[in-house]
Amino acid sequence: MNADELTDIEQDALAEIANMGVSRAANSLRQMVGEQVLLSVPAVKIVTRRAASKLVERNNAKKLVAVQQSFEGPFAGRALLIFPEAQSLELVRSIVGDEHSLEDVIDLEQEALAETGNIILNGCLATIANVLHRTMRMSLPSIVRGDGATLFEVDQTSSGGQFVLFLYIDFNIKKRNVHGFIALLMDLPSIAALKDIVNDFIRGIEKQPSGHVG
């Protein structure tokens, strides 16, 4: 087995761990907007950066906004909260409340996006770190606007063909007609470290007495 391939059980474990992180993130978003947030099943893939950027653009306008945070520790990468740019103000409005005027919402947009991303991505990453019994450092949030290639730095690093572990999940705020993704991107050296950690996690589950699994 190559270092850059995941076995079925590793893939399954990663999706499950991601699911725990993202569920916490969805719960945070739900508390912030006060409405139900629907989630898709998480997808875990090893793809090129370019292919990942295309997956994000699928079914979406090409103009995207993302709040991104990099993380490092036993494995490193970036976490992004992504949605179509046209929905950014609606998302902010759903968080700060409908009583604010459009001018106020526009004023607050950057602030609100950064803090929302911070809460959602931190919650997601911290949960994953706790599940794996590891510690991760996270950067301050920053905002990126552009197409999928800009978000995933396909062009500037000429690393479009480079393989990454791409983990994503769709979210949908039903009543607000706001949808987006939470995506995690990890480069290959990180994937090897992550595989070791995931295998520790799997062994930990196997050691549990029967009846406690799942």
Binding site: V96, N122, T135, M138
Partner: protein, 125 residues
């Protein structure tokens, strides 16, 4: 007695959320808003309680708590963060600080403030 609450968070939105929760829970209390550790250290002498974000540019929230502890070993302080890693919560505990997860809820803030009030009343002569 109305207490003074020092809020330290680089995000204006986060400070708005905190201010609005405090208005609902303890409408008579006074809020001192700061956006980084330096401003917070300059204002801490006038505060009774501190609520501190973890992830801030420059000095992070845990370092700030450690510095406040040098001068105010008993001040009720909570770290407020979405970074719910066991390590972060553990370090807050070691500094004798509470931990309030983001998104902030009225329940979690009210619980911390009630505990803080009790401790300050006990300590007062």
């Amino acid at each position: 007695m109305p207490y003074k609450v020092l809020v330290v968070d680089d995000s204006k939105l986060a400070r708005m959320v905190m201010a609005s929760a405090l208005r609902r829970i303890r409408p008579e209390w006074i809020l001192i808003e700061t956006s980084n550790a330096d401003e917070a250290l300059a204002a801490v002498d006038t505060a009774d309680i501190a609520l501190i974000d973890f992830n801030m540019p420059g000095t992070d929230g845990l370092e700030l708590v450690a510095r406040i502890r040098n001068t105010y070993p008993a001040m009720p302080v909570a770290v407020v963060s979405a970074n719910v890693q066991n390590e972060i919560i553990g370090r807050a505990r070691e500094l004798n600080a509470g931990f309030i997860p983001k998104p902030l809820t009225d329940e979690s803030l009210a619980a911390f403030l009630s505990g803080a009030t009790l401790r300050m009343k006990k300590a007062a002569p």
